[in-house]
C-alpha cells in the first residue's frame, strides 16, 4: 500500500471523480493538464498497490474430526 494510506477502493473512487471532472461544468482547459498529471500519478499508485498485494493464507490449527 502506498504511503498515502488510502485503500485501493478510496483511490479508485478518487480517480473516477478526477476523470468525471473532465466531463463536468467545472472543467477548464487551463486546469486540465494539472488534473491529468494528478490522475496519471494516482493511476500509477493504484496499479502499484494492486500488483504488490498478497493474500495472507493461514491454515487454522483447530481440528474438525471430532467434537472436542
Amino acid at each position: 500500500m502506498s504511503s498515502t494510506n488510502k485503500t485501493i477502493s478510496e483511490k479508485t473512487a478518487e480517480l473516477t471523480k478526477m476523470v468525471q471532472w473532465f466531463d463536468g461544468d467545472e472543467f477548464t482547459l487551463e486546469a486540465a493538464l494539472d488534473k491529468y498529471k494528478a490522475a496519471e500519478k494516482l493511476a500509477a499508485e493504484i496499479e502499484h498497490d494492486l500488483s504488490s498485494l498478497k493474500n495472507d493464507v493461514q491454515i487454522i490449527k483447530q481440528k474438525f474430526d471430532s467434537d472436542k
Binding site: Y36, E40, I46, L53
Partner: protein
Amino acid sequence: MEKPLSQPIFSVSDFIAVFNQTLEYAYPSVEIEGEVASFKVNQGKFVFFDIKDKNGSVGCFMTVWQMRVPIEDGMKIIVSAVPKLTQWGKFSLTIKSLRPSGEGALKKSFELLKAKLDSEGLFALERKRQLPRIPEHVAVISSTQAAGYADFIKILGDRWGGIRVDVAHVQVQGESAPDQIIRAINYFNQQEQLPEVIVIIRGGGSADDLSTFNDEPLVRSIAASRIPTLVGVGHEIDESLADLVADVRAATPSNAAQILVPDRNEIIRSVRVQVGSLLPRILQLIDQQKQSVRDNLNTAFDAIERSINDQVVRLSTLRSVLAQLDPTVVLNRGYALIRGLTKVGAMVEIETNKVILEAEVKNVINK
C-alpha cells in the same frame, strides 16, 4: 456312560447379554448393502425398516436424528450397523449410519431431500444474501490436499491480494466429511471477528463422493450460517443441495475465486483506459478551442469583407447616379447648354457636345 461336561445355564436375559457380547466381539460394526422395505417412523422419533435382498431380510432400527439422508421403500442403501439381539429375542441391526447406494438411489435420495428442504423455503431467492464486493477476511472450508483447493487459492491470489484467508482443513468426502464441515462452519460462526464470507469448496468426483454435500444436517448448517456462504463443489454440471442452499453458488472452486474477488488485471486495464482517454480528450478540446478561434476570426473577416463589398456597391451606385448628373452626358445626347440672360438683345452662349456658339436673343416668349 461318560458324564457330559457341565454347561452353564443362563437366564434368558443373561443369554441375550452374552450373545450380544459375542456378536459385538465378532462384528463390532458391519456394513450391509440391501434394499429398504417396510420403512416407517414411529412417534416421529424411531425409524424401523427391513434391509433385504433376494434371499434374506433383516430388521433395522435407528432414530430420525441419525438419518442424514431420506430413504424410502425400494431404495438401495448401505448401512453401517451393530447387530443385536433384542430383549424380545428378535435379531435386528442398530443402524449407526446409512447412505444411498448406486446412482439411482443417490438420485432418489437427492430428490426427496430437495423437495423437503424446498418446501421449507431453504432455497428461496429472498433468503440469499449478497457477498461483499471485495472481502478483506474470508473463511475457506476444504481439504487442503484437494486440487480444487489449490486452484481456488491460486486464482484468488492471481486476481486479488490483501485478503486474510483462514482455512479450515476438513475431509470433503466420506462418512465423517459432513460433520467436519459442519464443525468448521460452526467454528467460523463463533469467532469474535467474523469472516465476511465462508467459501466451501471441493473439486470434482463421483456422485458418491459428492453426496457429502447432500447431507441434510450440512445443508441446514449452511442455511443457518450467520456468515454469507459461497459454495463451489464439483464441476459445472454437478448440482448439490449445498449449492442450492448457499447464498451464492459457484460452478467450480476456480469459479468461486472468480466470483469472490474482482480481477486486479482488469482493474489495472480499466484504470489505464480511464487515464489514457484523458490526454486525447484534452488535445481534442485544444483543437476544438483552436477551431473556435479560427471560426470566430473567419466570421469577423467575412463581416468586414461583407461591409467593404456593401460600401463598394454603394459607391458604384452613387457613381452611376453622379454620372447621370454630368452635363456632358446630356450634351452627348444632343442637347445644348445655354448661358446668358433671357432678354431680347442679350448675348448668350450655346454649348453643344462639339461646339460653343455665341448668339443674340431675338425674342423671348413665356410658356
